[in-house]
Symmetry: C2
């Protein structure tokens, strides 16, 4: 995708200096800072402090993080320790574990002296694979949008999304936004309702910014607003991302997704979830029961940062002083509320039978 | 209710100086400023700028505003003009029109020379009536809480509320929070989940503040969070307010209420709405179709104010620069999602048949 009309990705590695570069997403949209990651600590901090965020990007970051750790110490026990440290940074996203285990597996039968090179090559392949995966998600999701467009070619399609599952959440293209970028390229008239996504405002800060940079018409709304819009026919389609999906199609995504899915269901609005197959946790079926929900600091609710009229950044207390706040990062949308799962292998129904076909396909491809 | 352990109401009139005093709620919780209102312009500004807010308080403010206008010009055409100006300040709340029409009716058959006195007396009676109404709502709602408490006496009851329908939204007691204050006085162990209520944060700023001042245990949550809490059995009861209710029981309340009602319904959590009968618009039955939804400035979404670590107030841009925002103030919760309407006359089912009984009772009482 593009920033100030220049091509940009969220993460890349300079092999000469063995340095990985990321966009510090905590400073967006007010500042575009590229920061280097070298040590395992750098990588862990970048994930836990949400300088990188979004399930796919977290996974790739962790992959390069483990490769960096292996370059320092290629012994198996050290690798296992580094892997555990990385996995512990965010408890909900499943790609994190998936990517870390991929790197571990890639070096398991390799002599210690070669492990650093092999791990870095494998992380680089995962990065390329993520780009291809997201583009494929975009193509499959685009078909759904094109179908709605064909039914009513003169209408601007209104698509609602929650949080940021755009290119900033991946290496490039995004998951939920990839179909939108593909539809834009195909000339389909569309407009995106961007859920602000409290408490961290990934919608208002990141999704709005990247849609703006790509020239996609969009409007920010409070998270409270989607139901009203759907009641009044102002949403044609919802597309969101997923941090972890069960084998039965329950979707764990940014807190508040469940409420939008309920509203979509109540108003007959299609509700799609776009995800790489790597976000599916084949070991569980009951998302509400089995997925640990990350609890984060109260300050993310009670405080907010932004720039004043002079462009100066401030962090301000926005709630009643002394009142406690609880900050759950994700919720689970039961499969019954999901119209379909848009994956790199096609659109699947959110049920165990259809997803088992996807699982066979994924396993066979490995 | 109490502020810093002193009794306080939201609005009172000093008859000697013909001045009405209000709390400027836009400065809460960071600052408790009492401001005087004298002219019709003062009153209109206080309503449209949301220095006063909450359907009942808006109504009483408008009543005193019309009385102030009548003191300046008691001619019928001037009164009608002032009434229209007041009604136009906020389009959704029905009490505003109700209170203004009450004052107009009170002076209709009165000689011009007496109109100012009669209007002020009537506004004062409406104010007293609001206090009694809210306390009665509190008593009826308390019975519902006490019933849940009796079923499980050792459990702390978790009640979720949206926006501020506390004493700050009325003269005293509140609507949705009145049952909570009554339950607190009766010693029932309870805890309130306070929806932040974007974009204006009336929950995080006002509800949290007034619950804190009254010593009621509470926790602020992002508006996105209620669904997750309900899925995990962490909400026993929802109580919200209403800005306008149809004769069939549809409830128009702060944007996002509908999403919480959907979630309560999906998780078998009772969803109650507390309201004075004056918020019922007996002329309409279809809330989604018939209630005009106020659209406010985009800046309420894109900007946020709060205090920094030095206690200094800042307004900051919190979203992507250049991105548009849409700001709908209310949504409509269909009657089918409402467990019951807690009124000053008792708890009514949200359907046309039961509400017709309430209408007869209200009409007979007039």
């Amino acid at each position: 995708m593009r920033v100030n009309n220049q091509p940009q990705t969220t993460l890349w590695c300079e092999s000469a200096t063995q340095t990985t570069f990321i966009i510090d997403q905590t400073l967006l949209p007010h500042q575009l800072d590229i920061i280097p990651l070298k040590t395992l600590d750098d990588f862990c901090h970048s994930i836990s402090a949400m300088q990188v965020r979004g399930a796919p990007l977290i996974g790739i970051t962790a992959a390069f993080g483990l490769a960096a750790a292996i370059a320092v110490n290629p012994q198996s026990t050290a690798i296992a320790q580094a892997a555990n440290t990385l996995i512990a940074t965010r408890p909900t996203a499943i790609n994190l574990r998936w990517a870390v285990e991929k790197i571990q597996a890639s070096v398991a039968n390799v002599a210690e002296a070669q492990r650093a090179d092999v791990a870095l090559q494998h992380a680089t392949r995962l990065r390329q694979h993520d780009i291809a995966t997201c583009e494929a998600i975009g193509e499959h999701g685009y078909q759904l949008i094109a179908e709605q467009h064909r039914r009513n070619p003169n209408k601007t399609l209104n698509i609602l999304t929650h949080c940021n599952a755009g290119w900033l959440a991946t290496i490039d293209w995004g998951t939920a936004l990839a179909p939108i970028y593909k539809a834009q390229q195909a000339g389909i008239p569309l407009h995106v309702w961007v859920d602000e996504t409290r408490p961290r405002n990934q919608g208002a800060k990141l999704t709005a910014w990247e849609l703006g940079q790509q020239g996609v018409p969009h409007t920010i709304i409070a998270d409270n607003t989607g139901g009203h819009l759907m009641q009044h026919g102002l949403v044609d389609l919802c597309i969101v991302g997923s941090d972890r999906t069960t084998a039965a199609g329950d979707v764990c995504n940014k807190i508040g997704t469940y409420l939008k899915a309920l509203s979509a269901n109540d108003n007959n609005v299609p509700f799609y979830v776009a995800l790489p197959a790597s976000t599916i946790d084949w070991t569980i079926t009951d998302g509400v029961k089995d997925i640990p929900i990350e609890e984060r600091e109260a300050e993310e609710i009670t405080h907010m940062n932004g720039v004043d009229a002079n462009g100066q950044l401030h962090e301000v207390l926005i709630s009643a002083p002394g009142s406690a706040a609880a900050n759950y990062g994700f919720d689970v949308t039961p499969a019954r509320l999901v119209t379909g799962l848009i994956t790199e292998h096609g659109v699947y129904s959110a049920n165990q039978t259809h997803l088992a076909e996807l699982q066979n396909r994924v396993v066979n491809a490995q």
